[in-house]
């Protein structure tokens, strides 16, 4: 019996081993192609249609998937591994499959006005060096940009030409010219972009955007209104339209020595408004008042009790208590301006004598 069972066990063990090995190795006619970078395996083996029809379709498909996955995993583990935070990880190589584009390729930018003109005239772009030798400073300076060679605005001496007005500020003139040039360049750049993206730019006024909020529309209206020869001074307003305030960036303050009575009146009005906004029933005050009333009643009740006892005992104690009670009452009633006498503080809890 035992021998039989031992043999049986051994046979079983062998069978298990074979099964395990079988499960790792897979036999295929054609080898699979792998793209481990994308974790992909391409199986070009023909499918046996008869086999497919004989077996249950689910089982056939499942076994096929299992085999292919096994091969893929085998291939993955052939690559070098490393250990990251107690997990063994395989370093994947670069993907070899070329994936198609997600979005359409960008269209070429339409040429700008200058580029069209240059093409027309046959002007080639000349490559210029970034740095130029400056003899005055005896060093290499940029052709354009920060600390450039010919910065007109940084001249310390400008000769006033014969034809110019002697009172004119030449430095300010140069700065202004520079600003205008920069603004012109920016304008042309934006126009090129607008032409490229086929956005219509109005000749004057603000460009409309897709969703305009109330403030945007108000601003556009204000700009349009003030774009007249008199800067909008004689433009009529609609019946219920309010005058625009704070359209400019500059803040306007009242003059330092203005009309004093006006100022005083404004401040008094402001105070009146602030007073009216305060609630008439101050909750805290009401609660405190209620608490005071309760305390008073409590102490009065205790006094009565104490008074009765005192009457039994002797006269003077009753007097003392009466005096103390009276004092307390006074302190309570006249509590608006002055505080209660300091003796009260020493008394601690109310009602205790």
């Amino acid at each position: 019996m035992a021998a039989c069972s031992i043999e049986g066990l051994l046979a079983k063990a062998e069978q298990d081993e074979a099964e395990k090995l079988k499960s790792i190795t897979v036999q295929k006619e054609l080898d699979l192609e792998f793209d481990i970078g994308n974790l992909v395996a391409y199986d070009k083996n023909r499918i046996d249609i008869r086999l497919f029809r004989e077996q249950k379709k689910e089982d056939f498909l499942r076994s096929l998937a299992r085999d292919n996955t096994q091969l893929l995993v085998n291939e993955i583990w052939k690559h070098p591994t490393e250990r990251v935070e107690e997990v063994i990880v395989v370093k994947l190589p670069e993907p070899t499959t070329a994936l198609p584009r997600e979005k359409p390729p960008p269209k070429p930018r339409p040429p700008t006005k200058w580029e069209e003109f240059a093409k027309l005239k046959g002007i080639q772009k000349k490559k210029k060096t970034n740095l130029v030798w400056d003899d005055v400073a005896k060093e290499w300076k940029r052709r354009w940009g920060y600390k450039r060679v010919n910065d007109g605005t940084k001249e310390w001496l400008i000769e006033v030409p014969e034809t110019a007005d002697p009172n004119e500020d030449q430095f300010a003139k140069r700065n202004k010219a520079k600003k205008e040039k920069v603004a012109k360049n920016e304008l042309h750049r934006l126009r090129n972009i607008a032409r490229a993206q086929k956005i219509k730019v109005p000749g004057v006024g603000l460009t409309p955007t897709a969703q305009q909020s109330k403030t945007d529309l108000a601003r556009a209206v204000n700009v349009a209104k003030s774009s007249t020869a008199s800067a909008g001074k004689f433009q009529e307003r609609l019946p219920k339209e309010k005058a625009p305030r704070n359209t400019g960036k500059k803040r306007k303050f009242q003059p330092v020595i203005g009309n004093f009575s006006n100022e005083k009146q404004r401040q008094l009005d402001l105070l009146k408004v602030m007073d009216s906004k305060k609630p008439r029933l101050d909750v805290n005050k009401a609660v405190n008042k209620q608490m005071r009333e309760d305390d008073r009643e409590e102490s009065a009740a205790k006094f009565k009790k104490g008074g009765k006892k005192g009457r039994k005992g002797g006269n003077f104690s009753g007097k003392g208590k009466g005096g103390g009670g009276k004092g307390k009452g006074k302190g309570r009633a006249g509590g608006k301006g002055q505080g209660p006498p300091s003796g009260k503080k020493g008394a601690g809890k109310p009602g205790k004598r």
Partner: protein
């Protein structure tokens, strides 16, 4: 130097009304002369009209201070009251706190007032009410905020804070350079 805008005036009045309530009217509208508030370098000054006219003769960068500095506006446009306003606020104070002689010095060094140092307190003071702190000889010492209402003050233990310190006259020596 410029007058305050409406928003700034509102912020400042709200702060002042915490200490003196409706008596701000007496500051704005005085029988003995026209006084006004002017803003210079983020600080609010309370000046009489005469001094104001003289002050306009001094250039902005050379002008250090005019009249009485009530306080300053912080970078986030909150108004902070300075001790230099005490002379004007003390007579109109609505809620007062008297400090015992032993604890006076502690308050003048910038500490809060504990219950053990509390001499007297105005009846029906709310919690977090602005108060003016006096010594027992009725000398104004500074400003504070009541940490507890009068009712609670009676029942609380002697080591707890009853008035938070805001400003005291010791600052005239401690913070000499930043007071203007």
């Amino acid at each position: 130097m410029r007058p305050l805008t409406d928003d700034e005036t509102k912020t400042m009045f709200e702060k002042l009304s915490k200490y003196i309530g409706e008596n701000i009217k007496l500051l704005v509208d005085r029988p003995d002369g026209t006084y006004c508030f002017r803003l210079h370098n983020d600080r609010v000054y309370y000046i009489s009209e005469k001094i104001l006219k003289l002050a306009t003769n001094i250039s902005r960068d050379k002008l250090v201070s005019v009249g009485t500095c009530f306080g300053k506006f912080t970078k986030t446009i909150k108004f902070r009251l300075h001790i230099t306003a005490l002379d004007f606020l003390a007579p109109y104070a609505k809620f007062k706190v008297w400090v015992k002689p032993g604890q006076e010095q502690s308050f003048l060094y910038g500490n809060h007032v504990l219950k053990s140092g509390l001499g007297r307190i105005t009846e029906n003071t709310n919690q977090y009410q602005g108060v003016v702190v006096y010594s027992m000889a009725d000398v104004p010492l500074g400003f504070g905020v009541a940490a507890k209402s009068t009712q609670e003050c009676r029942r609380v233990d002697p080591m707890s804070i009853v008035v938070f310190h805001q400003a005291d006259i010791g600052e005239f020596i401690r913070c000499e350079d930043t007071l203007t």
